[in-house]
């Protein structure tokens, strides 16, 4: 069994409530940090831990924290990104509903490290019920003296609030999230200035993912070095993986960085293999934005090495033969899956979620959706496949925020690795029939290609 840091207690009955959470060592990191450490010392431990942001970009958290501007007399804020909307990702929801006090504890310890006296947790609107769970946990934390004025008699004060979104994937992008927190449309800001200098209400702000903040708890409890001793290379610690698709055991798994992808997919401890005795066809390893890889390339790198669940190994080969860890949304597809149709669901998603500020993203995502729709409707030509390639290429690098790229990469990867499947549909439109009525609930179809 792999070591667990975040989900080690998640199956204890009553762990949602304060008393049980506290009995199992809860809030020890707050006690330790506030009573025996300086804020700088906490930042130092986080640096030593090698923790990287779990929201998707993988930026070193300690470094991000040390960039926070500290002008005198200006408040600083910590904002937790619980917007979780990247298709294939549901780990933050699991963590917040299962063990909400872990996030609250992490928020207090992290806010102390950053010198923030007011912090927010921004939760996606569709998780409205989770705001209730968090608010209950926060009320319990206030009642037991972990929040409010002069916490543990140390002179440190913190207020923590939950903010709810309105259903917009783009609000997961940190500057869009801050706009939304200010009660505006979620249009990403042009950077610089970065939030660390000018964030919410123009004050220095750190935005971190739910899982990142939760990881601060074991880091402070056991020390940064202990955390860094788990994992492999620059992928330290554990990672929550949301596993979905055609596997026997979908769910949220905490893995030690560095286990093989093969173990993750096929072992009973994790996904338990592919459903219905089918063959694996492809995997989207880190949420909808990362390149899809065919079976051979997800299990082994181009050099024939086993591929590992780590930032470096998943990215081995760049975009030609590799992919990315992203948010850890692991979607497995069996041999009945149409890659073209799956791509269509992604492209439709990005078109729907584009905020519309930049023309390459606003127009490009819609155009790609239309071309894919045309192909799936049986009217595609070989030229359309090249057109898709051109459109995605012209989005990349030309937009305000990375949503444009997030929309372009899946298209590029699907064509790169599964071009023959696009061509098959274009040349034999009747094959589309199999896809249209593909994957009936109780009636498994034959492999698509």
């Amino acid at each position: 069994m792999g070591r667990k840091l975040l989900l080690k207690n998640d199956h204890i009955p009553g762990i949602q409530g304060y008393d049980v959470y506290r009995q199992h060592g809860g809030y020890a990191s707050v006690e330790k940090a506030l009573k025996s450490m300086t804020p700088e010392a906490v930042v130092e431990e986080v640096k030593k831990s090698g923790l990287r942001g779990r929201g998707g970009a993988g930026f070193p958290t300690g470094m991000k924290w040390s960039f926070l501007a500290k002008p005198a007399g200006v408040p600083r804020y910590l904002v937790c990104n619980a917007d979780e909307s990247e298709p294939g990702t549901f780990k933050d929801r699991y963590l917040m509903s299962r063990i909400p006090h872990l996030l609250i504890e992490g928020m207090i310890t992290s806010s102390f490290a950053l010198g923030a006296n007011t912090s927010y947790i921004y939760v996606r609107g569709e998780y409205f019920y989770i705001t209730r769970i968090l608010e209950k946990a926060i009320a319990e934390a206030y009642a037991n003296g972990w929040l409010g004025k002069n916490i543990l008699g140390t002179g440190y004060s913190l207020d923590l609030y939950v903010q709810v979104g309105g259903g917009a994937y783009i609000c997961g992008e940190e500057t869009a999230l801050l706009e939304s927190l200010e009660g505006k449309r979620g249009n990403p800001r042009i950077k610089p200035p970065f939030p660390a200098v000018k964030g919410v209400w123009d004050c220095p702000t750190v935005v971190n993912n739910v899982e990142t903040i939760a990881a601060v708890v074991p880091i402070v409890n056991d020390g940064g070095e202990a955390y860094a001793s788990i994992g492999i290379g620059k992928s330290t610690g554990t990672k929550l993986i949301s596993a979905s698709g055609h596997i026997n055991k979908p769910g949220v798994y905490e893995i030690e960085m560095g286990i093989t992808v093969e173990e993750f997919i096929y072992s009973e401890e994790y996904c338990g293999g592919i459903r219905n005795g089918r063959e694996l066809k492809a995997v989207v390893a880190g949420g909808s934005s990362v390149p899809i890889l065919p079976k051979n390339l997800i299990l082994k790198t181009a050099a024939g090495e086993p591929r590992l669940m780590s930032y470096e190994s998943l990215a081995d080969g760049g975009f030609v033969t590799g992919t990315m860890m992203g948010s850890g949304g692991f979607i497995a597809m069996d041999d009945t899956t149409s890659i073209v149709k799956n791509l269509y669901t992604f492209t439709r998603f990005y078109h729907h979620e584009s905020c519309g500020q930049c023309s390459p993203c606003r127009e490009g995502t819609g155009w790609m959706e239309k071309v894919l729709h045309k192909i799936l409707d049986g009217h595609g030509t070989l030229k359309d496949v090249d057109l898709l390639w051109d459109i995605q290429k012209n989005i990349e690098g030309k937009t305000i925020c990375p949503l444009g790229e997030a929309a372009a990469w899946p298209v590029a990867a699907a064509i790169r690795h599964f071009r023959s499947e696009f061509e098959e549909f274009v040349k034999n439109p009747t094959r589309i029939k199999d896809v249209k009525h593909y994957y009936r609930l109780n009636n498994l179809p034959e492999p698509v290609i």
Partner: protein, 184 residues
């Protein structure tokens, strides 16, 4: 912006006004606009599941901001309805993981059962069907959301039971409802 139907006599009750005050107190002095999204959710839940122009104007007056600041936000976020919807808004996820697990069959089944297409409302005003993007429930696909409640690992039989129960109950579902948590 909406269908001409409008609300009359718009005013929150005292409990809700108290809640609005509490929401505003979460932000620094003068930043009460930050309460806009939570207040819009509250307004939508109280005023029949949608935001008419008078409702949005009322919200603007509560937060002391211009009506346009409310319209531009309400029209940006997909959870705010600018037209009337049925008592039960059935939001079915159609993105990758749910599609892989048969979301299209679920949508088709609901369309047939209710005699409406995606985006339409039943004649009795009970149900509106809407396909939506990933709701963070991909491991328990296919899924749909009605009010605040997630319904997961759907089968056509489960959908039938759900629709029948909702109809018998006959109540409007809102995002602010209490939920039962089965999976998590």
């Amino acid at each position: 912006m909406n269908t001409g139907q409008q609300h009359q006599d718009i005013k929150f009750n005292d409990d809700s006004l108290e809640l609005v005050k509490k929401m505003i107190s979460r932000y620094p002095e003068g930043k009460q606009k930050s309460a806009l999204l939570p207040v819009l959710h509250l307004a939508q839940a109280e005023f029949d599941g949608w935001l008419s122009v008078p409702v949005m104007d009322y919200v603007a007056s509560l937060l002391n901001i211009k009506p346009i600041e409310v319209y531009e936000v309400a029209s940006f976020y997909t959870m705010f309805n600018l037209k009337p919807v049925g008592k039960c808004l059935i939001e079915v996820c159609r993105t990758s993981s749910c599609w892989l697990m048969g979301a299209e069959d679920i949508v088709r089944h609901i369309e047939k059962k209710l005699g409406i297409k995606d985006g339409e409302t039943t004649k009795d005003g009970m149900f509106t069907l809407k396909t939506v993007e990933c709701l963070g429930s991909c491991g328990t696909a296919p899924m749909l959301m009605c009010g605040a409640q997630f319904h997961e690992n759907l089968t056509t039989e489960k959908v039938d039971t759900l629709l029948a129960n909702l109809k018998t109950e006959g109540k409007r579902k809102t995002y602010l409802d209490d939920v039962t948590i089965d999976n998590y």
